[in-house]
């Protein structure tokens, strides 16, 4: 026979927040584990300070590219609440369009004679290509599905991604090609005593500028305001007289622009193009966007940065100390594991609301 006290005790036990307890234990355990691994690595003394510094710079540069692409994802998600899986392909097509222009410029010698003009031309070409594909996507694949349940446009996006990749493969051939870049981009600059590759410095600077410009655009201009309005609530925005279709197209255009810029930055650093380059990058950038909190510009930037740093520094920092062979092979594992962990604790991403999003 249960007494009052016993009943109360059971009641308290039942209310014991098992989930939170597990979360805390897990979180602390992982932090301790990571700190331990880092300690082991650092005590091994394998890496000089300069090496760590380089790793950080590489991470930031790569993260900048991820951030730019992630911005495209996040903006589309903000207003349409859908993941544009094909954004990686938007990026890839921009790169390819600029590739053909670059090749002509190279063959005619223009690339070397006036490199800065050449770069501008390539930027324009890449942006045009990306915007073209983005707008096409929106009109053909996404607009008819505006009101469909979530699953449908997601799958359409996957289909579009496959389609665009393989069309590029069919058109241009599956092989990866070397991308000609002006020689002036080689070499390093020394900034604050840190030698940085010119290309990487340019990438970081351009990415920053673009992100700041975008934030200003969204917060100050009228179009920006209408974008935010539509992101808040599509139907009410249209009641307020905002042309939702226009806004959506504009958002895709902006996303395309960002992807185009990212494309040029990418080819400047890596100097290769291939039909499948967008796929993996797209997934990573999307991961970055989710990590930072999808729907938020700062979130995409932060997520990109963190992901870049993780990929670059984490394998060396955590895994070499534990004597795991081939640590860099596992960098994707680390990245995704971090994603899972973040989402366990903050289901909306780092800068998200902290609450699971209502469907």
């Amino acid at each position: 026979m249960a007494t009052e006290a016993q009943g109360a005790a059971v009641g308290r036990l039942a209310r014991f927040p098992v989930r939170r307890a597990v979360q805390w234990v897990l979180g602390i355990g992982i932090l301790v584990g990571a700190a331990y691994a880092a300690y082991r690595t650092l005590s091994l003394g394998l890496f000089s300070a300069a090496a760590w510094r380089d790793l950080v710079v590489f991470g930031v540069a790569q993260g900048a590219i991820y951030a730019l692409i992630a911005l495209g994802y996040t903006m589309v998600y903000g207003i349409l609440r859908m993941i544009n899986f094909a954004h990686g392909e938007v990026f890839m097509w921009g790169a390819f369009v600029s590739y053909f222009v670059a090749r002509t410029l190279q063959n005619s010698g223009f690339m070397q004679s006036s490199p800065y003009v050449a770069i501008v031309i390539l930027l324009v070409a890449a942006i045009a290509g990306s915007i073209g594909v983005a707008v096409l996507l929106e009109r053909v694949a996404y607009r008819p599905l505006r009101n469909a349940p979530r699953l449908v446009p997601l799958i359409t996006a996957i289909g579009a991604s496959l389609f665009l990749q393989n069309t590029a493969r069919g058109f241009f051939g599956p092989q990866t090609r070397g991308y000609p870049v002006p020689d002036v981009l080689g070499g390093t600059w020394t900034i604050l005593g840190v030698p940085i590759l010119r290309t990487q410095a340019i990438v970081i600077v351009v990415a920053l500028v673009v992100m700041i410009a975008l934030t200003l655009f969204v917060s100050r201009t009228k179009t920006g305001k209408s974008i935010r309005a539509v992101a808040e609530d599509k139907d009410i925005a249209s009641l307020m007289g905002i042309d939702v279709d226009r806004v959506v197209v504009t958002t895709f255009v902006i996303g395309g622009m960002l992807a185009g810029v990212a494309a040029v930055l990418f080819v400047m650093v890596f100097q290769v193009v291939g039909p499948f380059m967008g796929f993996v990058l797209g997934i990573k950038a999307f991961t970055a966007a989710v990590l930072g909190g999808i729907g938020s510009i700062a979130g995409a930037a932060l997520g990109g940065l963190i992901l870049g740093l993780l990929e670059s520094v984490a394998p060396s920092l955590f895994l070499t100390g534990l004597h795991i062979p081939g640590p860099n092979q596992l960098k994707d594992v680390i990245a995704f594991a971090i994603l899972v962990l973040v989402l366990i604790f903050r289901p909306g991403g780092l800068l998200g609301t902290g609450e699971a999003e209502k469907v």
Binding site: A51, T176, F270, V280
Partner: protein, 444 residues
Amino acid sequence: MRKPRWFAVVTLLGALSLVAAGCASDEGGGGGGGGGGEVDCNTVEFGCVTYASGEPIRVGTLLAISGDVATLGDDSLNGVKLAVDYLDGKFDATPGQLVGHDVQIDSQDDLCAKEGGQSGGTKLASDPTIAWVIGTSCSSSAFGVADKILGDKGIVLISPSNTAAGLTDPATHNPFYLRTAQNDAIQAKVVADFVFTELGFKTAATIHDESPYAAGLTSGFKTFFEQLGGTVSVEEAIQSTDPDFKPLLTSIAQTKPELIYAPDFNPACALMAKQMLDIAGLKGVKFMGSDGCAASTFFDQAGSAADGTYMSFPLPSPGGSESGLVGDYNKAYKDQFGAPTAAFNTNAFDAFNIMAEAVKKVAIEGDDGSLTIPRAALKDAVFQTKDYQGLTGTLTCISTGDCQSQAAVNIGVFLLPDLPIEGGNPDAKPIFSEQLTLTEALGT
């Protein structure tokens, strides 16, 4: 209730049919001819393949003819085509005949991956008119896949470019598999010798791309290099789709190697060579790849970073065949196909030819002009190839499938841009070369 009845019916039928399958007769693997001649095709193991008068002999090829590695597969396929051309003794762009029959090539794609080995291999294996298969291009599509699928049907698989050691390891070798390409154990030894004795380096780092080919080479290199007294500072791996290797290279730089050996495929190989130049810690460190890397795409993708890198590359044996043939072959290749895009077209040529010799030995010609080739006998005959003078050297096949076994395989090391393929220098000479037999390399 309807459901259980339906289910019961199906299960019953299923069980019955499994029993029936046990009693069912075999799918005919061969043409089942068996008319005059010393071999009864209906009883001999694996049967025979028969061609009526006027029918062409069908030879399958399972090569990497699409994607980034098409340079490898197309190149081998061209070698096969030249071999068919040369059946009449002349390189005249008109195919010759083998034992009075035309030769028809059924070309399948091995996708340089297990899937291709499986699908292409299954397709060829189920075609009873295929006499033998030349392939695969990449070791990953052969190992445990195509060699088994074809071997189970008694179809000989002979590869012009599989170099992974495991394919001819006694523990894992398939009895119907051979290759005219060198065993990578040899290439690994030559590379180790080059790095240690010629360059004088004592520490090296290795990077493989998770393919059996690359992993085999790096582990072989490690064994031989350490035997000589060198140290492998770190063994790393990459995924071939990654574009960014700078963090990896930085981490390798910390272990202070004098050379990085990365026998991977392109574009990863090219990108690594290029990105190495950007890492301060790797100044002065040399980069070395192997034949998987030494394709025309390397020049395109690495750009100016290609200069100064080393590549190991198989060479035709100097004491090999009638030197005239090599010259004629090279000219014919250039005329018909342009510059070679990979190193193994000569191996493909030789592969076809030793099979053709074996066919001539065991084929039974019927009075009506038909041709019967018993499969098991064909396999035995080609394994008995001894001292055959091919383009790539003297070929003698041993029971574990290496035909470049007794022959000294000549591996050369080139300093780029001097590489005798498209994009490089057609008259390039190696800066180092060694001729080793398999036994010499393994030190047994």
